[in-house]
């Protein structure tokens, strides 16, 4: 089977899974929908491996394969095809997406069992993976947009999975609206591309881009900025980031899948894919790098103070994607993609562990109420620790190599990028700090009541309630199920978490500078036409950067250790001393309030104005009312003629005759 056949199979399996579960959920017993979904993704992963192998067999410069299934539209020279592009970048993404998704599906089979919407969950998850793979495998902008939109829809469905929770549906809508803003950007960018190059097919556009756009031309900068709008909306970068923390309303596997490994990386992918265009618009690249770094710093600063477990991890995701965006904006495509991969591993691992902890806490997510789970949940503790180490970039973990490779490339670009690199390193220290803040607060210290219950063999149970607002709920459809599953007691969860932990540690071996450059080499053909193709920092420089990075992470960990273990209570003192700053950070730099003021309120006012004045008064009143009023007056005037009096009618008749005779008289004279 050729690589492209594998490509179609990659798409077909999740779609088949979706259809089987959607139509057959009533007859599938117990957990079968979960196993079917996992199996589908597993087969998709195997197909990705097959495609990768087949691709590797081919010579280096012939690794971009397009296969068309169907032509949507063809007018003149312009064709829109249902076609996939199988090349190293796409297959890399497919491997990461399908691999991590498979493990998350397995985890969810245990985590979500007992929930009344079990089958619906897996149908949505398969739909999501299908959309993501479609987005990645698309060979033209149309299919990219289709996949983009599907992913947005799937994310809405999954965030608002527990749909009877108002906070969840509000979060889903918020995510969807911001995604749509991104969609608009993407579509307009596609229009501009079509206008200038006459095609929407990747390979055609990239080949022609050099001739059509002079460097830093207004149009190409506009196109790239619009693509950035789309990418930033999906990846939750500044300024379109406000949906990500709220999206933690979804079940934990959703956070692991969408908001760690896949959807949020769907923003980094198009920047890498359209690197040809970006390199023709250095202004846009600079904007992207700056915003990526800004997000890095912003998210790290907020993660230090937030007290909801999942939200800390969400901000950490935002921050790490800032690194990826920075990477692909400075030309370090291989490094950026590598960080994407390692991040997928350790971040989804962290979310899975968080899910386990939250289950132990019977649904509560408040960091202030957790503590001392180390003895009660040993497996979760170890995996969480591994994930945190990788996140911090502790020496020799995968995160260490990937994050520092990005920063090494940034420094190598020189000039203003040095400032960005410095910020990146500082933020790395902060990252290490908040990662271990979590570790120490959750697992160290005095065991809380739930931990003690767990240790003694039982599990804490509270009345079901919304963790954010405390409203009580029931456990029927639309709300979380009554059961809580911790990793120590559910085999599928451990089976899923273990490989990720392993990969978080050893994946670094794929890209040790100077020794192995497996990722770089694999992705090389996709980026062969990049300006930065061969500008790699020297091995010496890379080693130096690695050392600096390692030091930063150790510094952060040590600080966290001092604050939380050696002298607990110090954090509270600092919080009181810097109360203003603390408030600023806890309110996420007041971005939500800013958007509410600038955008939501004016739109709401415009909407209510439209409804009151335009719709009610103008359209209903004036136009419709006016039209009917005119008709009514006219007809009542006409009605006045029908008096009902015989003699009046006779008079009218006579008048008519009179007129007629007069006419004939005059015309014949």
């Amino acid at each position: 089977m050729s690589a492209t056949t594998y490509g179609w199979l990659i798409l077909a399996f999740p779609l088949a899974g979706l259809l089987v579960i959607s139509f057959g959920w009533r007859v599938l017993p117990g957990r079968t929908p979960g196993w079917i979904a996992s199996g589908a993704i597993g087969l998709s992963f195997l197909s990705s491996i097959g495609a990768a192998i087949k691709l590797d067999d081919r010579p280096e410069d012939a690794r971009a394969l397009v296969d068309t299934a169907y032509t949507y539209a063809a007018t003149g020279n312009f064709r829109v095809n249902l076609a996939i592009l199988v090349d190293p970048l796409a297959i890399f993404m497919c491997l990461v997406v399908s691999g991590v998704s498979f493990l998350i599906h397995v985890y969810s089979v245990a985590y979500m069992s007992g929930d009344r919407g079990f089958a619906r969950f897996f149908a949505y998850m398969n739909f999501f993976v299908f959309s993501m793979l479609l987005l990645v495998l698309a060979s033209n902008f149309v299919l990219l947009i289709v996949g983009w939109a599907f992913v947005g829809a799937a994310s809405y469905l999954l965030i608002a999975f527990w749909y009877r929770r108002e906070t969840a549906t509000a979060a889903g809508i918020k995510a969807f609206v911001i995604n749509v803003i991104g969609d608009v950007g993407l579509v307009i960018a596609a229009f501009l591309i079509l206008d200038k190059t006459g095609s929407l097919d990747y390979l055609t556009v990239f080949a022609k881009a050099g001739e059509v756009f002079p460097s830093n031309d207004g149009t190409v900068v506009a196109i790239c900025l619009l693509l950035l709008v789309g990418a930033f909306a999906k990846s939750a970068q500044l300024p379109l980031h406000t949906w990500l923390p709220d999206a933690m309303e979804g079940p934990t596997p959703v956070s692991a899948l969408i908001h760690a490994a896949t959807m949020v990386t769907a923003g980094v992918y198009p920047i890498a894919r359209t690197h040809v265009l970006f390199e023709l618009a250095p202004t846009a690249q600079d904007v992207s790098a700056i915003l990526g770094t800004a997000t890095l710093v912003f998210a790290a600063s907020v993660a230090v103070v937030v007290t909801d477990l999942k939200r800390v991890i969400a901000y950490s995701t935002m921050s790490q994607i800032g690194y990826m965006v920075l990477g692909v904006s400075v030309g370090a495509y291989g490094a950026g993609m590598f960080h994407l991969m390692t991040h997928a591993f350790f971040k989804s691992l962290l979310f899975m562990c968080a899910g386990s902890v939250i289950a132990a806490m019977a649904g509560n997510q408040d960091l202030d109420r957790m503590g001392g789970f180390r003895k009660a949940m040993p497996f979760t503790f170890v995996t969480f620790l591994i994930g945190a180490l990788a996140l911090s970039g502790f020496p020799l973990t995968s995160g260490f190599f990937s994050k520092d490779e990005v920063l090494a490339f940034t420094i190598n670009r020189g000039g203003g990028y040095l400032a960005l690199a410095v910020l990146g390193y500082l933020a790395a220290a902060v990252t290490a700090f908040y990662a271990f803040r979590l570790v120490f607060r959750v697992f160290y210290g005095e065991p809380v009541e739930e931990a003690r219950e767990l240790q003694s063999g039982g599990m804490a149970h509270h009345a079901p309630a919304n963790p954010m607002t405390g409203e009580s709920e029931d456990t029927d459809v639309g709300f979380p199920g009554p059961e809580h599953h911790v990793a120590e007691r559910a085999l599928p969860m451990r089976v899923a978490m273990a490989p990720l932990a392993l990969l978080s540690v050893v994946a670094g071996a794929l890209s040790i500078p100077g020794v192995t450059d497996a990722v770089e080499n694999f992705l090389d053909p996709s980026f062969a036409d990049s300006r930065f193709h061969n500008t790699m920092p020297s091995d010496g420089a890379q080693l130096l950067d690695l050392v600096v990075g390692g030091l930063m992470s150790i510094a952060g960990i040590t600080l966290a250790y001092h604050l939380y273990v050696r002298r607990p209570g110090t954090a509270r003192v600092i919080q009181e001393r810097f109360a203003g700053l603390h408030r600023f950070l806890v309110n996420k730099w007041y971005f939500d309030e800013l958007y509410d003021l600038l955008i939501v309120r004016p739109l709401a006012m415009a909407g209510s104005f439209g409804q009151r004045v335009v719709e009610t008064d103008f359209v209903q009143g004036t136009i419709v009312g006016g039209a009917t009023g005119v008709v009514r007056v006219g007809t009542s005037m006409a009605r006045a003629v029908q008096t009902g009096y015989l003699r009046a009618y006779a008079l009218l008749l006579l008048t008519g005759v009179l007129g007629l005779v007069l006419y004939f008289l005059i015309s014949s004279s």
Partner: protein, 99 residues
Amino acid sequence: MDIGWFVVLSAFIFCIGAAGVLTRRNPLVVLLCLELMLNAGNLALVAFARMHGNQAGQVFALIVMVVAACEVVIGLGIIVAMYRNRLPIDVDEMSELRG
């Protein structure tokens, strides 16, 4: 006699009948005035028949007479029905078809 005289006479009778239809309130009298107008028409028809030497006009007038008879029958039937149902015998009161 010149035919013109007959036609002018017919015009006058017609207009007198029209005035009667417009002014009288008793439906019976209105019908009578209607008869006047029909007869005026008949007169004109016969006059023109004489003018052209064509008997078709007379036949036409005969048929008009038949039609007038039928119309009288129905009209009187309506008036009798009005009387039977104790409605006032006045055309101005019969205004239920007003829009």
